[in-house]
């Protein structure tokens, strides 16, 4: 069976990391350079492996692709797809910027919400979009997430949320800041109703999102190597004028300090989430 050795995981990060055998590379196929192992990976192989390099490095993933890989086929029903932020403060340059971002990302806003099944477990799902101003939280993002949690309370559903965010969207000023309080209040109501909320923190989860719904889940999971923190590393370095410790603000360190339950590589996430959802739905089983 030595012939099939290439199918075996080479290291811990890679365990279960391959969804299939490596795809045959086309001649002249575009490649992506891995920032971790610095190897060039053919795009087809990267895509076949959920945007995870064979060294275990997780590339950022678009919200729609994530939904496709994590939910049961055809089970996702999007909610509030047209909802988006205006320019409440007439912030200079915001209208033009967000217009460009909408075209480039193909999304109206930085979060996609809906209902779905994961391993036949029904839930509400939100997935933030890194390609939309790095998942920045403005009024519409806050509103959509709040509406989703309210819907989940009404229909007694668990919530699964994938976070990726640089924080609150400064172009919407105080209104963005208030979304932290608004979403937190909605999470609290969901929690008080005895319902499960699982957050999966992906690279990067920082600022106002870390300081609100990302850190308020019953179970907090993280992707390997993701940046998780409140203040930006650059700002901390400027403020303290000291070198930052190794691995600062990575999933692994944040877990070491007790703020993450488990690190789950992308390939194992669906099964992991399904199992967790199932364990909290035992009344339906017996």
């Amino acid at each position: 069976m030595a012939l099939f050795n290439f199918l075996r995981p080479k290291n811990k990060l890679e365990e279960g990391g391959r969804s299939s055998a490596p795809v045959q590379q086309d001649a002249g196929e575009p490649e992506e350079n891995c920032p971790n192992c610095h190897k060039d990976i053919p795009l087809s192989r990267l895509w076949a492996n959920n945007l995870v390099c064979s060294c275990g490095y997780h590339f950022r993933m678009k919200a729609r692709q994530r939904i496709q890989t994590i939910t049961d086929k055809g089970s996702f029903h999007e909610m509030y797809p047209r909802m988006k932020s205006g320019n409440p403060l007439n912030f200079p340059g915001y209208k033009e910027k967000i217009g460009t971002v909408r075209v480039a990302s193909g999304e109206e806003e930085a979060v996609v919400c809906g209902t779905a099944s994961i391993g036949r477990q029904r839930c509400c799902l939100f997935v933030m979009e890194p390609g939309f101003m790095m998942g920045s939280m403005g009024s519409a993002v806050g509103e959509k997430i709040t509406l989703l949690f309210e819907y989940a309370v009404e229909h007694r559903l668990p919530v699964v949320g994938f976070t990726v965010s640089g924080g609150a969207r400064m172009q919407e000023g105080l209104l963005s800041l208030m979304q932290m309080a608004k979403t937190s209040a909605a999470v609290k109501r969901h929690s008080d109703a005895g319902l499960l909320y699982i957050a999966v923190l992906t690279d990067p989860t920082t600022g106002g999102v870390t300081a609100s719904f990302a850190m308020e889940a019953d179970i907090i999971l993280a992707e390997p190597g993701a940046t998780i923190g409140f203040a930006g590393a650059r700002v901390i370095k400027q403020t303290t004028k000291k070198a930052l410790p190794e691995g600062f603000q990575t999933s692994e360190t944040v877990m070491e300090h007790g703020f993450v339950d488990s690190i789950v590589p992308r390939s194992g996430q669906k099964k992991y989430l399904a199992e967790l959802l199932k364990m909290h739905n035992w009344r339906a089983i017996i």
Binding site: Y80, R82, M83, K84, S85, G86, P88, L89, F91, P92, G93, G138, S139, A140, G142, E143, A168, M170, E172, G173, L174, L175, S176, L177, M178, Q179, M180, A181, K182, S184, A185, V187, K188, R189, S191, D192, G207, G208, T210, A211, S212, F213, A214, M215, E216, G229, F230, A231, G232, V235, I236, T239, T240, K242, L244, P245, F248, Q249, H257, F259
Partner: protein
């Protein structure tokens, strides 16, 4: 100086302005300070305890910047560590248990950003406050007395009533931070300050605060007497509110809705 937004920012940061402890000492009687978060340490940037408002026992919590260089260093310039927020939450829960209203004074450029603060969960500490304050069963009034810096200020401002002093500012990011991120130029802080809509008047028109407090005779007895009277009247009304937590939920629920296009 008060006619531009950035002028207000400078005023709000003025070390001569009354600080949190000044308000506690002048408005309330018999302040008993309570220390520590019962988990790790005591953060001098946040002061809290029990005091009497006229005769009514209340829990007071204030971010303290200090006046002199020595005080300011000791108070970490009013930049709280996670322990500060956890102490605040402990005192609020205690207030809830004993049916005391909570009054917070906020004055911070933001939660402290440092390696230790991150490692001990600055984000988590703020998040927990936001979540728990939303359902606190006792009236909560927050007054922004100087700088209201982002999440670090909001962590004490999930209240039934939020008031601002006339020259206080409340913002999602410092004008300097905003300018350096958006335009890679901290010199553009003035433009950023104007764009961020961070003055008391702006906050009121956005529905983020209920009331602007005049700074006439600031620091004098009349000034504190006036605030004491307003707090007393407002608490009387809030104590009668049977839908307190529902109203607090609705207060924050509607914020930002006007900025959302639904189509």
């Amino acid at each position: 100086m008060t006619d531009t937004a950035y002028g207000r920012v400078k005023l709000a940061r003025d070390s001569q302005r009354p600080t949190g402890l000044d308000y506690i000492r002048k408005i309330f009687k018999g302040f008993i300070e309570l220390h520590g978060d019962r988990r790790y340490s005591d953060d001098p940037a946040i002061v809290g305890g029990i005091a009497r408002l006229n005769d009514l026992p209340v829990t007071v919590i204030a971010i303290e910047k200090g006046h002199t260089a020595k005080e300011r260093t000791y108070r970490n310039f009013g930049a709280p560590q996670p322990e500060g927020y956890r102490k605040a939450l402990r005192l609020m829960k205690q207030a809830e248990k004993f049916g005391r209203p909570v009054i917070c004074f906020v004055d911070t450029s933001g939660a402290y950003c440092g390696v230790g603060a991150e490692e001990r969960g600055q984000g988590q500490a703020i998040a927990e406050n936001l979540m728990e304050m939303s359902t606190l069963c006792v009236p909560v009034i927050t007054i922004l007395i100087g700088e209201g810096g982002s999440g670090g200020a909001l962590a004490l401002a999930v209240a039934d009533r939020v008031w601002m002093l006339q020259n206080a500012v409340y913002s999602v990011i410092s004008p300097e931070g905003c300018a350096s991120i958006l335009w890679k130029d901290p010199e553009k802080a003035e433009t950023a300050a104007a764009s961020l809509k961070l003055t008391a008047e702006d906050a009121k028109s956005l529905g983020v605060i209920e009331r602007i407090l005049s700074e006439n005779e600031i620091g004098k007895k009349e000034f504190y007497d006036r605030i004491r009277m307003m707090l007393t009247e407002e608490l009387e009304e809030l104590t009668r509110d049977v839908d307190l937590t529902q109203n607090r939920y609705d207060r924050f629920r509607k914020l930002g809705q006007s900025a959302v296009i639904k189509e």
